[in-house]
Symmetry: C2
Subunit: 152 residues, 2 copies
DNA sequence: TAATTTAATTACAAAATTATAACTATTATG
DNA sequence: CATAATAGTTATAATTTTGTAATTAAATTA
């Protein structure tokens, strides 16, 4: 594969990132009392049912002390809860509560509001194209990024 | 257009964002002495040749005082320079220096290193698919997000 | 020309992110 | 069993991001 192709891909990803960031992160600040970092933790827990503290840190490339900080806040708001592991008492597993799942869905809806409106203005063909390319990009990026990184 | 389609698109974008963030933002910290905010300013200036302080703020949804802060830092490192506008002496235009452009290219190369390696492991067909979908997603998102937001 | 608007800066404070070091408790290893 | 490794917490500090208020200088407008 010639280098040029990958250069263009990287260039595209560098452009896509701020375009998403602008819309998804900014509105979060104003429309929710939760901070971005804790929302990322919610996101990964919403997708995984149950994760240990270390696993959360791995998935988000976040050192363990930060995970503790975020989980403390989320527990205070009854968004997640701790579950002790009977097989290994060092491990603390985290699960979202029903309230947490509902809160997460509501926050996502709220912060995606402006973007939904913008998408809605596109013609139907463009929307279907957007569905297609976003699905496939998500799929490929997920595949690439799955490898675990050993940090903490 | 049924709501469901847009829901899936939003869901995809919500997944793509952290996958990019993880790779593009994290490595920046370790591999450069420049902070993410200032790099975004560099990015927009790299794309636009010349912008006033207000225009930078608009494009990045960043209040003007913050733009000043970032530009001060970038000037201190000889990455950008101020140009006074002969037609309106209130306006200060910013341009990247040669060094700034070179630095930006180097930083991009450095922080995309891991992602390049990951992409390189894909087979040729997947890489071409990635080229295609990233190009088209970039194009659609650019189209959607172009509207100016009046802040500051 | 006086009043208002616009562009940018200065100054300050709060919140969030990031980076570490030191520590406790538990499990695994030699 | 003693030692090392693992999981998580506590504590502290530096950096960065974010949010505003007040100010200066120049251009607009009424």
């Amino acid at each position: 594969m010639e280098t040029n192709t990958i250069d263009i891909i990287i260039e595209n990803l560098f452009r896509i990132f701020p375009l998403l960031s602008k819309n998804l992160t900014k509105s979060l600040r104003s429309k929710s009392n939760i901070n971005p970092g804790s929302l990322y933790v919610m996101g990964v827990l919403n997708r995984h049912e149950m994760l240990s503290m270390s696993e959360i840190g791995c998935k988000l490339s976040m050192p363990k002390p930060h995970v503790t900080t975020h989980i403390d806040k989320l527990i205070a708001e009854n968004i997640v809860e701790r579950h002790f592991d009977p097989n290994d008492r060092r491990i603390i597993n985290i699960k979202m509560t029903g309230k947490g799942k509902a809160d997460f869905a509501a926050i996502k809806l709220e912060i995606s509001k402006e973007m939904r409106e913008r998408i809605n203005k596109l013609d139907e063909q463009k929307i279907l194209e957007l569905l297609d390319v976003s699905t496939r990009l998500k799929s490929i990026l997920s595949e690439i990024m799955t490898e675990q990184n050993t940090n903490n």
